[in-house]
């Protein structure tokens, strides 16, 4: 199990001339599952994208093991840092094996083609996501949940120590959401992969995260283990939502129960 330090130092970031993140300092706990939560438009996705080098910060820096990720060779960085964005493109007519295999890009070069290690990594990723039987199938033929498993397998084939995922459960029904989060937990347990993701569902976040980051208006307002930081006050501040926090009987983690105007 490889440990890394991953930190942001006073990052400022945004799109075009609009600054969304302002002076964010954080440190991602190694070999754990971190989840970023926050209301729509709060900047959580921008934070993830800036950490995953999709957006270059206008100020501050993102450091992996003390070195700026923007000063590292992209392919070397891609061996440590993987990323699954929210809406990747599926090329028409691509098979599952082909797509998962493309995750091996940073480990290959023009001179040396596919090595035994590459094939093993792909086979292992397919196996872990339970999609070996679909390997020859066209992605177009698969269900939403199966497709998301294929994408995660692609990120797995990359064999990185750190994996960023931008809302990996969006558009999936509850069964598949739980399935995907279970699979990511397997990954974390088996290889010690540091996982950082943005999620919408607070209760699932509280259940699956070792560590939570709460973002509001482009700033970090709370961080820590879910049991330590989730309170009705924090949810009110983050989401402008009145709620009660009770104990999740299944996982013994905080469970929020929204109140609303018609039920008190």
């Amino acid at each position: 199990m490889t440990t890394h330090t991953f930190e942001t130092k006073n990052i400022q970031s945004g799109y075009d001339n609009k600054t969304i993140l302002n002076d964010v300092n954080l440190s991602i706990p190694s070999n754990q599952i971190s989840i970023i939560i926050g209301a729509n438009g709060c900047g959580k996705s921008t934070l993830l994208k800036t950490m995953a080098r999709l957006i270059k910060p206008t100020g501050g820096d993102v450091l992996l093991d003390g070195k700026s990720i923007h000063k590292m060779a992209p392919k070397q960085l891609a061996k440590v840092l993987g990323l699954l964005p929210q809406s990747p493109i599926v090329p028409e007519g691509i098979t599952v094996a082909d797509l998962v295999g493309r995750g091996r890009f940073p480990h290959q070069s023009v001179m040396k083609g596919w090595s035994k290690k590459d094939y093993e990594a792909v086979a292992e990723a397919l196996e872990m996501m339970n999609i070996t039987e679909f390997a020859d199938r066209n992605i177009d033929e698969l269900s939403g949940g199966q497709r998301q498993r294929v994408w995660i397998a692609m990120a797995l084939a990359q064999q990185t120590d750190i994996l960023f995922l931008d809302e990996p459960t969006t558009y999936l029904d509850i069964t598949y959401q739980v399935e995907i989060l279970d699979l990511l937990t397997d990954l974390n347990k088996k290889y010690g992969t540091t996982i950082v993701m943005v999620l919408h569902d607070i209760n699932l976040s509280a259940r699956y995260a070792d560590y939570l980051f709460t973002v509001k208006n482009g700033q970090l307002i709370a961080e820590g283990a879910p049991t330590e930081i989730i309170t009705a006050d924090l949810i009110k501040e983050t989401f402008q939502l009145d709620c009660q926090v009770i104990n999740d009987p299944v996982s013994n983690t905080p469970l929020i129960v929204p109140i609303g105007r018609h039920h008190a």
Binding site: L54, Q76, F105, P106, K116, E127, A135, M154
Partner: protein, 344 residues
Amino acid sequence: MGNIIEKGHKQRLLPKHLAKVVALLLILLIVSILMSLAFGSRTIGLEGLIDGLFHPSVEGHEASVVRQRIARTIFGLICGAALGVSGALMQSVTRNPIADPSILGVNTGASLFVVCGIAFLSIQSPSGYIWLAIIGAMLTAVFVFGIGSMGASGATPLKLILAGAATTAILSSLVTAILIPRTNVMDQFRFWQVGSVGAANWDSVHIFIPFFIVGLLIAIIVAPGLNALALGDEVATGLGVRTGVIRMLAAFAGVLLCGAATALAGPIGFIGLLATHLVRLVVGPDVRFLIPLAALAGAIILLISDVCGRFLGSPGELEVGILTAFIGAPILILITMKAKMRTI
């Protein structure tokens, strides 16, 4: 585990029917080469073919006709291959199924520069206009993509077609405006403009080869990066691809190949589109296989179109550019309809 690895191995190395497809394309290529050598205003029998190709001591008329057709055939082969690879590259760079040098107006841009070269700089030789054609092709490519990418939805197939068509209209009217008052230029240009391999000789082959090799090498080098780019810019960045560099190199190689082909043979349309689509239909979207196979398919399509032109235009010849347009245009319509259905 061993079993799965073995299975994964095969899946990666053999996209569907790779071996069969390669064999079929190679056979077709040999057949089309032989047809190109044998058929024309004078049809040569098997014996004449063998004499012309393998027995340099045999002098007869038939053998010498075959030898005269060798340069034209080799040129057609390289030209078709270059256009096939160019189409595959342009489609990958733009993630757009209709990208092809002729549809995007790149050929017309090359034409305009060649005409200017003939009219204003008195350039006479193909080695002179090859650079002009390449520069014209590059500027037009940048222009059309610039216009086609304006607006919120980016470079959609329909916008690119429109931008390409509008650009083609403007550039061809400029070409006409320059040509009409200059009858001497018109004569030199007229033949070039239709797209023909009939005038090709060993010189054309020698000028073309370095451009072809450079373009093809770049294409092979960027293929894995293009595979990653096909999954979207964000995924590609995550995989460590320098997206800007890969896209620029691939576009450069694509325009280089089609610019060189256009300079030497005139604008021959639709080969890149046809070759890439046919190949992708059979072996899937992996660019590493798409590029060499589109080269083979492009060469076959061009050679066969050229041979057909010799029959259809008899006693003269119908230029290959006219034939590829006849075959290509209906296919473009089919593809556009399919692409539109997908977005709806």
